[in-house]
């Protein structure tokens, strides 16, 4: 009903516009086209000026309306660099924006057609043109300089003491692998992937580095203040590890591992206080179109203290033991959950 109503109004407005248009055509026929043209020229001149004034007010109001909703303080060291670069660029471009838009609409208004003005024949001026080649060039060089300096800091090698986490995207969820006590991720091969038999990551069980690797889904735990290097991959199509609060992003490409590193600055708890939102969680979004579930490909991240993290990791059974229950010294106790390894992990995550 409402749809119908809206459509009816649209049609009505349409008809009215058509009638006005036809009528004004006749009017200008009677008045003389030249006169009608001059009149509409003045009206449009005023409208351009109005557009400038209301436009600039609108820009200000829009900022008041929405600025509180863009992310607050960045939650990683790299995020600070990104934000600083962003605000410097914002300052520079704002100045250019206001100057050029004002010039554009002001000139249009001021130099609208008038009987007592002749256009000024002004085909070129080499000095002016040189000035406005050189000034943007210098400004941009400065921005590029800062940008590349930060870029190398962010993309440079991770610190030696960084912890390593493997992140793998698939339609439509996230998988994580922790290297365990040895600090080394065991080898894997995609043809060994076999989720039903407890090997969703395709780990090669003959590699001893795999014995202590822990596999979890959907939720990643990180330690506050400790650099982390993510080793990123994908199983099926390209995904993208998007971490808005850390201002980090990296594609997850099947067949070509990628990496990124950063240092989380605040625990999840601290962020809850900072944002005043008790439901706050760090979210991991898939930022590369990956199929019909792309929009819901959500993971979460818990940033916590070292002790909390250690306790959490200790509560997880290495995937080697999940897949090979016969190797598990405590097999008897856990036999129920070991029979259904995937289900238990998923269930655990739901509870978290």
């Amino acid at each position: 009903m409402q749809t119908f109503f809206i459509l009816a109004i649209l049609v009505l407005v349409f008809v009215i516009i058509l009638q006005i248009s036809k009528a004004s055509e006749y009017v200008s026929q009677i008045k003389g086209y030249e006169k009608a043209r001059k009149q509409s020229n003045r009206i449009n001149g005023f409208m351009l000026l109005g557009f400038l004034i209301f436009g600039l007010i609108g820009v200000y109001l829009c900022n008041e309306w929405l600025k509180g909703r863009i992310l607050g303080e960045p939650a990683s060291d790299h995020g600070e660099l990104v934000d600083r670069m962003l605000y410097v660029t914002l300052a520079v471009t704002s100045v250019v924006f206001v100057c050029t838009q004002v010039a554009l609409f002001w000139f249009a208004y001021k130099y609208q057609e008038s009987d007592d003005r002749k256009a000024y024949y002004y085909p070129h001026n080499n000095r002016l043109e040189l000035i406005w080649t050189v000034i943007p060039a210098i400004t941009l060089t400065v921005l590029v300089g800062f940008g590349i300096f930060y870029w190398f800091k962010i993309t440079g090698p991770a610190p030696k003491d960084a912890m390593v986490v493997e992140v793998v995207g698939k339609q439509f969820g996230w998988e994580f692998r922790y290297p365990g006590a040895d600090g080394v991720l065991g080898k894997k091969y995609f043809k060994k992937v076999d989720a039903v038999n407890g090997n969703p990551a395709g780990q090669l069980w003959e590699d001893p580095a795999n014995y202590d690797d822990v596999f979890v889904e959907q939720e990643m735990h990180l330690v506050v203040g400790k650099p982390v290097q993510l080793v990123i991959g994908a199983k099926d199509v390209i995904h993208d590890v998007g971490l808005v609060h850390f201002r980090m992003k990296m594609d997850a490409v099947p067949g070509t591992p990628t990496t990124m590193w950063f240092t989380p600055k605040y625990t999840t708890k601290e962020m809850k206080e900072k944002t005043g939102n008790k439901d706050f969680v760090y979210e991991l979004s898939c930022d590369q179109m990956c199929g019909k579930g792309h929009w819901s490909m959500r993971g979460t991240i818990v940033v916590e203290t070292q002790e909390e993290f250690d306790a959490w990791l200790a509560s997880k059974k290495p995937q080697y033991l999940v897949a090979n229950p016969d190797k598990d010294p405590n097999a008897k106790k856990d036999s129920a959950s070991a029979a259904l390894p995937m289900v238990s992990v998923v269930a655990q995550n739901k509870i978290n």
């Binding site: 670069m85 660029t89 000139f107 057609e113 080649t133 995609f190 199509v237 490409v253 067949g255």
Partner: protein, 601 residues
């Protein structure tokens, strides 16, 4: 001649079938309006096909904006029209992604490439350089019909059972390479690739023709530096297209092979829905290089013709020469060269080598310099003019405003440090819609309003034109300006419902506002379409040969030029096209010899 025509007619098939029984005298109708080799008719064919596609593509955006603005509302009317695709009146994810993909493809390639270049290169090259037609009218006709075929294939893909391609307009593999990855990755994607291949053939035929016409068929006295900037712009556009489209063709064909012949150009290490695929050794990123090697020049293919027309229209309507003709030319040239050297700025976060990334940062921000020069020159062209706000002039002014806004956000994105945060967010969507989508549309509208009298011998209705302009101008800013904030907040693009997210779900009011404005702006475009077709038949007749008081050659032809354009000899050219307001004279056409006591510039 007409024999060749008829064979082509029979080969191309579909368009002629319903005329068959009319017999002999239909030939002339067919050769005049359908398989025409007159560049002016071909231009109109491109334009009208482009308009049809623009309506389709625009309608798609209205549909997916409904979903974005009202993710949990049901619109039963959608189910009536689209059945299972909008079950319960709600747009299903597969449908949403199909719509987005088709919207992007159609508007980027079919409207703003074919519809824009095809129309104005065809119309203006012979008319403005003083030629009777294109170098090869036959190839020119083929160019349109390949475009038509591409259109038929693309349109048919919308109606297949599993839906159209839905991998985004960039069609990245492995998503687009794997039939298992979703419904849109089935036959729809094959049709998409075939259609694009046909489209590329059309584009190459057209482009080669434009280049050779401009180089070889200029009238006496029309040296390269006496050409209007419109011609320079379509010239560089054609060169960009000829050099970059073949790369996309190879990318698309390799993708077809990967999909259908079991090759592994883009595929490696894939496990999909639990199924392990045998492919090893391919590179998914290779496709992105091939795509963006076209993709970035493509955005300038879309923009340059608009820039050219805006330059011309601003000059004519300020009654002043374009400021810095040589600088305009130089910056067009610089943009055309740099356009080939920045493609990887779309790939900063694909795992690209950071050093390589930094080189692309430098080259990308370099391209902002010629862009800035152009803006300053347009501003100076307006300065101390005597400006007439024809609808074309308003759209040209609007173009400059939008180009400034969108160019400045490019400076954020071109800086890889900031792009880490903004890549694939709504910020990018806002950036390219303003700078490319809306700005090029403004250039196109400016062109249509300005040259409609030449195309059809009538004027468009001014009142409707002004309403069209103001609604679109205000609407475009209302839609895209606040969208930047969503991007700054990190909201990813192509998210059809954000209610499951803690950090992205605080823009509901904004999304609704944008949706409502989208519908109004779409309605204003329909008003334009109405005006267009209405005025072809009912518009005020053009009585003066040169209604805008312009210098260029197209206004020396009869009001309704026939095949061959000029009735007598082609006029000779004696000066550049921008002698407006010189020595106290309103304008001095290019055909007027330079008199002895004229001042120099």
């Amino acid at each position: 001649m007409s024999e060749t025509l008829m064979t082509t007619a029979t080969v191309a098939g579909q368009a002629t079938t319903h005329h068959e029984e009319h017999g002999h005298h239909q030939e002339s109708f067919i050769s005049k309006y359908i398989f025409s080799m007159d560049h002016k008719t071909i231009a109109k064919q491109f334009l009208i096909t482009g308009i049809v596609w623009a309506i389709v593509g625009g309608l798609f955006s209205v549909l997916f904006r409904l979903q974005l603005g009202y993710p949990d509302r049901a619109f039963p009317i959608l189910e009536t029209f689209f059945g299972q695709w909008a079950k319960g009146g709600q747009i299903q994810p597969e449908f949403y992604y199909g719509l987005v993909t088709m919207h992007g493809t159609v508007l980027v390639f079919f409207v703003l490439t074919a519809g824009l270049s095809g129309t104005f290169a065809n119309l203006l090259i012979p008319l403005q350089i003083g030629a009777r037609d294109m170098a090869s009218p036959f190839l020119n006709m083929l160019s349109y019909w390949f475009f038509f075929l591409a259109s038929v294939v693309m349109m048919s893909s919308i109606f297949v059972n599993t839906g159209p391609a839905s991998g985004g307009w960039t069609m990245y593999p492995p998503l687009s390479a794997l039939k298992q990855a979703g419904d849109g990755q089935k036959i729809g994607t094959d049709l998409w690739l075939i259609s694009m291949a046909l489209f590329i053939v059309s584009s190459l035929l057209g482009g080669l023709n434009y280049i050779s016409t401009i180089l070889n068929m200029r009238t006496k006295g029309m040296s390269m530096t006496r050409m209007p900037l419109t011609i320079w712009a379509v010239f560089f556009t054609a060169i960009l297209g000829v050099l970059s489209f073949p790369v996309l063709l190879s990318g698309a064909i390799l993708l077809l092979f990967d999909r259908n012949l079991g090759t592994s150009f883009y595929l490696s290490d894939i496990v999909i829905n639990g199924e392990v695929l045998p492919n090893e050794g391919g590179s998914a990123i290779l496709y992105q290089h091939l795509f963006w090697f076209l993709g970035h020049p493509e955005v300038y293919i879309i923009l340059l013709p608009a820039m050219g027309m805006v330059s011309e229209i601003l000059s004519v309507n300020s009654r002043k020469p374009i400021f810095g003709y040589m600088a305009m030319l130089g910056s067009l040239f610089a943009i055309a060269v740099l356009a080939f050297l920045v493609w990887a700025h779309h790939m900063f976060v694909t795992g690209l080598n950071p050093f390589l990334g930094s080189v692309f940062v430098l080259l990308t921000l370099l391209i902002a310099v010629p862009s800035a020069i152009k803006v300053f020159n347009w501003l100076t062209t307006l300065w101390r003019g005597n400006i007439r706000f024809t609808p074309a002039a308003l759209f040209a002014i609007g173009f400059v405003s939008l180009f400034i806004s969108g160019g400045l956000t490019g400076i954020f994105l071109g800086n890889s440090t900031i792009d880490i945060h903004l890549h694939d967010t709504m910020f990018v969507v806002a950036h390219f819609h303003i700078v490319m989508g809306v700005a090029s549309f403004f250039g196109m509208y400016a062109g249509v309003y300005h040259w409609f009298p030449k195309m059809f011998g009538r004027y468009l209705n001014n009142t409707m034109a002004y309403i069209h302009f103001w609604v679109t101008m205000v609407g475009a800013y209302l839609i895209y300006w606040p969208m930047h904030y969503q991007g700054l907040a990190g909201v990813p693009r192509r998210y059809l419902d954000k209610s499951g997210w803690v950090n992205f779900n605080n823009f509901r009011d904004l999304d609704q506002m944008i949706t409502i404005v989208t519908i109004l702006v779409f309605a204003a475009q329909l008003l334009f379409v109405f005006n267009f077709f209405y005025s072809i038949y009912k518009g005020r007749k053009v009585r003066s040969q040169n209604p805008w008081g312009a210098n260029t050659l197209e206004w020396t032809t009869p009001v309704n030029p026939g095949h061959g354009n000029w009735e007598g000899d082609i006029p000779e050219v004696h000066r550049w096209p921008y002698d407006y307001g010189k020595d106290g004279r309103e304008f001095i056409p290019q055909t007027e010899p330079v008199s002895a006591n004229e001042s120099k510039h």
